[in-house]
């Protein structure tokens, strides 16, 4: 019998790790007059999702985390941050991650900002800071640009600006409070630019309460309930929107990934959409095949991976959406509900399936090799 593979036998690409951008970090990179705003905010330092510029009063209560209620003491270290690429590299080493795909912390709330120019300026500053400070492909750290949904043309210009940068591999699409959802045609310039730049686009949400669907979760009494829905409903709503408006038909080469919602929702949405398509096709006649065909072409990040008592259930669940080739590992390091790769490794996937989920699916999604080299930038590389 062949020896069972260990984690060290796999290339582990982590499709969701978070850098921490303090307002003071972005000051040198942001245009006037917005620099004055960041200087004002930086004088009142806060951490992890508690940054004043991304807190909508009365709806997004950052000062008490995700809770509207009492705050109990706990030894759970729920507000971890990573401030330098050196620290990130060292910490990812401890959890067996070879390549980390970098996302922001506070910019997870970028879509809540109502001033379009300010939002675009923050995104530009973050992108410049990320690329200069964090993206180190030779050390296995590569980044996603932040898209400003408020300013699609500006975001497209950002994508074009960094299209050839070896340390950028994707575009992060904010899910929390985005309005309209990501299927709207106003975002086409972003998808067109991402497709041309050979960047994947990755949707990522965060727990907020906001009047925008599906974040109008003020009816729940606990942060536990809100956190249960904040990421999953956002991914479901955006996937349904993107399929039903024909994004994958308009941009057939665009690689789309849904993050931080686990994977159990995927078979449900897939089968539900297929059923609705039987009677609703005429409304969406730009679709050329059942929704499941598109859904099976998207990518899904594992974290927070479901933890059923019978781990074999996860293999069956992933098979329901042909997920062996479309599921990508993510840890969400250093956040409060991160996953160690061991959690996936414990599941009775074949070693070949694990090899795909831990690494090769993500390498295909980002079109890069295991040394973090973007294949579209390599001399003589074959076209995808």
């Amino acid at each position: 019998m062949a020896k069972r593979a260990t984690l060290d036998d796999f290339v582990v690409v982590d499709c969701d790790v978070h850098v921490h951008e303090m307002p003071s970090d972005l000051i040198p990179y942001i245009d006037m007059p917005w620099r004055v705003s960041l200087e004002t905010i930086a004088a009142n330092a806060a951490k992890y999702l508690e940054i004043g510029y991304l807190d909508v009063p009365a709806f997004s209560p950052g000062a008490s985390g995700s809770s509207f209620g009492p705050v109990w003491p706990s030894s759970h270290e729920a507000a971890r941050v990573v401030l330098t690429p050196e620290a990130m590299r060292a910490e990812l080493d401890t959890i067996n991650v070879d390549i980390g795909i970098l996302f922001p912390d506070s910019m997870l709330k970028l879509a809540t900002i109502t001033d379009e120019e300010y939002a675009a300026a923050l995104a530009r500053a973050y992108n410049a800071w990320l690329v200069e400070t964090w993206c180190r492909p030779e050390q296995g750290l590569v980044g996603c640009l932040v898209a400003s949904p408020q300013a699609p043309e500006d975001t497209a210009a950002q994508i074009e600006k960094y299209a050839k940068h070896p340390g950028v591999v994707g575009v992060y699409l904010p899910g929390a409070a985005v309005d309209p959802l990501w299927g709207d045609r106003k975002y086409d310039p972003i998808f067109k630019a991402a497709e041309a730049a050979d960047f994947a686009v990755l949707l990522h949400s965060v727990g907020i309460v906001h009047p925008t669907y599906p974040f109008n979760t003020h009816g729940f009494t606990s942060g536990f309930a809100r956190h249960t829905t904040s990421h999953t409903l956002s991914m479901m709503a955006n996937l349904v929107d993107m399929v039903s408006t024909g994004v994958p038909e308009r941009f057939p080469n665009l690689r789309i990934c849904f993050t931080e919602a686990g994977v159990a929702w995927v078979p449900f949405v897939m089968m539900r959409m297929d059923r609705a398509y039987r009677e609703g096709r005429a409304e969406v006649s730009y679709l050329t095949k059942p929704p499941s065909e598109y859904i099976k072409s998207f990518f899904y990040a594992t974290q927070p991976i479901e933890e059923p008592q019978t781990l074999a259930d996860m293999v069956r669940l992933v098979n329901l959406y042909d997920g062996e080739n479309q599921t990508v590992f993510a840890s969400d390091w250093p956040h409060h509900d991160f996953d160690h790769p061991n959690k996936i490794h414990q599941m009775p996937f074949s070693d070949e399936a694990k090899r795909k989920i831990f690494g090769t699916n993500a390498l295909r999604m980002f079109n890069m090799d295991e040394h973090c080299r973007r294949l579209s930038l390599s001399q003589g590389a074959a076209a995808r």
Partner: protein
């Protein structure tokens, strides 16, 4: 032997190494308790906590009102927050799970663990 009794004052906790084991030793209200520094959920460093707290409970006989309970007896794993009752090793999140406790002996001011 893992140290002298005065090295484990009331309200304190620390992780000691015994052979290949890492064990958290807690002095809860004058009683010493020892638990493995390993959360069975995702192998987090369970006992490397910054503080020992209480937690909430709600009971039918009190009409499900939220009560503060187990003060100074609860640790939540630093990784994912799964709660354990230090004096018993009982997991509050999954009642069917208890982690093992090590016997702590104090003899002439010297603290040792029994396996």
């Amino acid at each position: 032997m893992i140290g002298k009794l005065e090295e484990f004052p009331e309200g304190s906790h620390r992780v000691v190494t015994v052979g290949r084991r890492r064990i958290g030793v807690f002095n809860v209200k004058g009683s010493l308790h020892a638990l493995p520094n390993l959360c069975p959920h995702q192998t987090g460093p369970l006992c490397e906590v910054k503080k020992v707290t209480g937690t909430t409970q709600a009971r039918a006989e009190n009409d499900w009102a939220i009560e503060w309970a187990f003060d100074q007896e609860i640790i939540a794993c630093p990784w994912h927050g799964i709660e354990y009752h230090v004096p018993t090793g009982r997991c509050l999140t999954f009642p069917e799970i208890s982690i093992r406790s090590y016997e702590v002996a104090v003899d002439d001011g010297v603290v040792s663990l029994e396996f």
